[in-house]
């Protein structure tokens, strides 16, 4: 599926660094082990980093002001560590850039992704965008706070989902 | 799928089973399609069963069932009877509720 943002297909300006090849010009997402190489690039082309599910996002602390994107991943949809990574990026590190979910998340996880601070989704699944959109819209109430700081409903910890 | 599914000896005979997707009922691969009664199951020699299972999984009807695997038969019992307690319970119903033994239903999906 092409890149999804706010329930819409969005053009993708990012390139993913290829193993064993030099970093391309322009916006590039590097794997964590090539982060130093990415930071050493001259010019002001945007830089993003892709992290595996077992990475503690705290390791990105110093580099974060220079990163415009962090990609978290779902090797299988059942591996929910990316939710915690995204949320920690927003809540602990105050990251304001793009958080991209990659790998194999299900459309049914879309609302959870967004509430944990994910902004774009690039999934390997071939899927109709309408399924993702519906998953986002179908439930309008949440029962706990999130990184999106939704409007409290009034009772308990309930929030209105926008 | 449970590790005990598809367990069998190198000799003997087996039948093929699954759960129906829409209602979860146990079914057995029969001459035509899937039956709720093990008495209708096609018997395979264990030398052929792996291929038979592969074929069953590749059939279009496989979309109507979940979890296709083989079940070893007890050679010492008349009639088609699985070897293990677990598969006998699947075939003949819960031992504590004889009134819940499987019967062929007319509204087969």
């Amino acid at each position: 599926m092409p890149l999804l943002e706010n329930g819409q297909i969005t053009p993708d300006r990012w390139h993913v660094a290829m193993d064993g090849e030099p970093l391309p010009e322009g916006a590039v997402i590097v794997p964590l082990e090539r982060l130093e190489e990415g930071l050493a690039r001259t010019g002001d082309a945007p830089l993003g980093v892709a992290i595996a599910p077992d990475v503690d996002v705290a390791v990105l602390r110093t580099a974060l002001p220079r990163l415009e994107l962090v990609a978290v991943t779902f090797p299988i949809f059942r591996d929910g560590r990316a939710f915690t990574q995204a949320r920690a990026l927003r809540e602990h590190l105050g990251f304001k850039g793009e958080i991209r979910a990659t790998g194999k998340p299900l459309p049914d996880q879309y609302e959870f992704l967004l509430r944990c601070g994910v902004t774009t989704v690039q999934t390997e699944r071939a899927e109709d965008i309408s399924v993702w959109r519906q998953a986002h819209e179908i439930i309008t109430i949440a029962y706990q706070p999130s990184t999106l700081h939704e409007r409290p409903q009034g009772l308990g910890l309930r929030r209105f989902l926008g | 799928m449970d590790v005990r599914n598809n367990r069998r000896d190198s000799t003997g005979a087996s039948v093929i089973t699954a759960n129906r997707l829409l209602d979860g009922r146990i079914v057995w691969l029969a001459a035509q399609g899937w039956s709720e009664l093990i008495t209708h199951a096609r018997v395979f020699d264990n030398a052929e069963i792996e291929d038979a299972i592969k074929q069953a999984r590749a059939m279009p009807e496989a979309r109507t069932v979940v979890g296709i695997y083989g079940v070893q038969l007890d050679p010492d019992v008349a009639g088609l009877t699985p070897l293990t307690v677990r598969e006998r319970i699947r075939a003949f119903g819960p031992s504590v509720h004889p009134d819940f033994a499987p019967v062929e239903t007319s509204d087969v999906h």
Binding site: R81, Q153 | G24
Partner: protein, 562 residues
Amino acid sequence: MSTDTTTLPVGRYAYDQVDRTFLSQRVAQFREQVARRVAGDLSEDEFKPLRLMNGLYLQLHAYMLRVAVPYGMMGSDQMRALAHIARTYDRDYGHFTTRQNVQFNWIRLEDTPDILEHLAGVDMHAIQTSGNCIRNVTCDEFAGAAADELLDPRIHAEILRQWSTLHPEFTFLPRKFKIAISGSPHDRVAARFHDIGLVARPGPQGRPVFDVFVGGGLGRTPIIGVKLRDTLPEEDLVAYLEAIVRVYNAYGRRDNMYKARIKILVQALGVEAFREKVDAEFALMNRADYRLDPAIVDGIRARFGIPPLNAPADAEQTLAASRKADPAFDRWVRTNTHPHRHEGFICAVISVKPDGGIPGDITADQMDLVADLADSHSFGEIRVTHMQNVVLGHVRKDQLHDLWRKLAAANLATPNIGLVGDIIACPGLDYCALANARSIPIAQKLSARFANPELQERIGPLNINISGCINACGHHHAGHIGILGVDKRGQEFFQLTLGGSAGGDVAIGQIIGPALPEDETVDAIARLIDTYLVLRHDNEQFLDTYRRLGAASFKDAVYAPA
């Protein structure tokens, strides 16, 4: 929205329009997921976690639906809805589980959206009763009624239930997550056998405080939970639990499902290192977002109906007279009731363990009767216990005899609570795809063998727990006598453990020897009980005698009978 607590449902949270909207959206979501599965747009692998999070298992004979009974509380209208489900979509019965839920064994996938819609009509659901997410938060069966309770844990159970519902970060945990909360110094919820166990008591400024235990559990690796935090203030309750589950989600193992519970993580790190991680998260998080303001708690509390506890001044005398006049009733009061905080009231336990019966199974007709009796005798409030029985929590003492007679007529008054006939058993291999052996026939045989009520009282408190496999849904590790079904070359064998306890003196049962074939197991247990009767001192209970003597005499009784 009524705030008059005499019209709100007693003992549980009253849904409002917002909750109902959410439930109907959830049903629509599942209906759509089923449609995608049937159309082939979702594989079974992808659909499975989605249906599990609506409580739908594919079991040995059919789909099984596990309906949530939040902290074990339901109302008579809800019980009638369960009876309707049993009649319309199942085989006229349901089953109470060891986590206070209800299960139906003969469900069709294609009916499930309609079933969930019917349940939503009475504010019920099956959300997160399975799957790698936070499950039903359980309380003890006498919550809000027991004389010894320091505070009613159900308010905070409801707060945690809501907080954990469709939690965006915690819906794909390494494994399931179970929370229990007790408001009594006598732990009736087995708090230390849960992933998180909370013990609540009154604290300063009239707000409760919580002791937090973590990393307990049964199953393959039974472990008693450790105390992570003492005297946690109420306002930090949600934040602190959020921190614990965040650490678990990040660090819990995902490579081996048998090593994926939080108890394994706590053991691997050690409690000190685990606590450091939790405290670090607790320090970093936006605590203000998660603060449990007293106003929030009181807002939820205001949605719980309160029973008007008015009894005649001579209620106690009336009860005493009935007891004197009716020995069978007297026995039942001795065994099947629990003291209430109000002197004119009493808690009544409805035994769902008839002699020779299937533990926890209840017919649709019995469900309707229980609903009627709840209306006439307990303000419409019904409690499901984790011992697979039912409690009416607020019965007027002068009306107890009438209740008993009606229960007895429906085979729901067996005087065996906490006694040898009150067997806890999982559904086992007769129903469960995970099981190695059948648990129900052993339960039935034991129950029939020890049916005599005098014998049961003479034996005294004795918890027999039967699990059909190592997943331990029968909580056999916590049984005074535990029975575990194992598979030996496709045949059923049973391993016995002794000396477990889920109470304040929590302990894990010890295996006493090799597993026995099915036809020897019941006799072996009878010999164990005989041994205890012979060897006990004074009024020792089984557990006391075992602890005094150790396993040796009991082992001999099983393996080397004279």
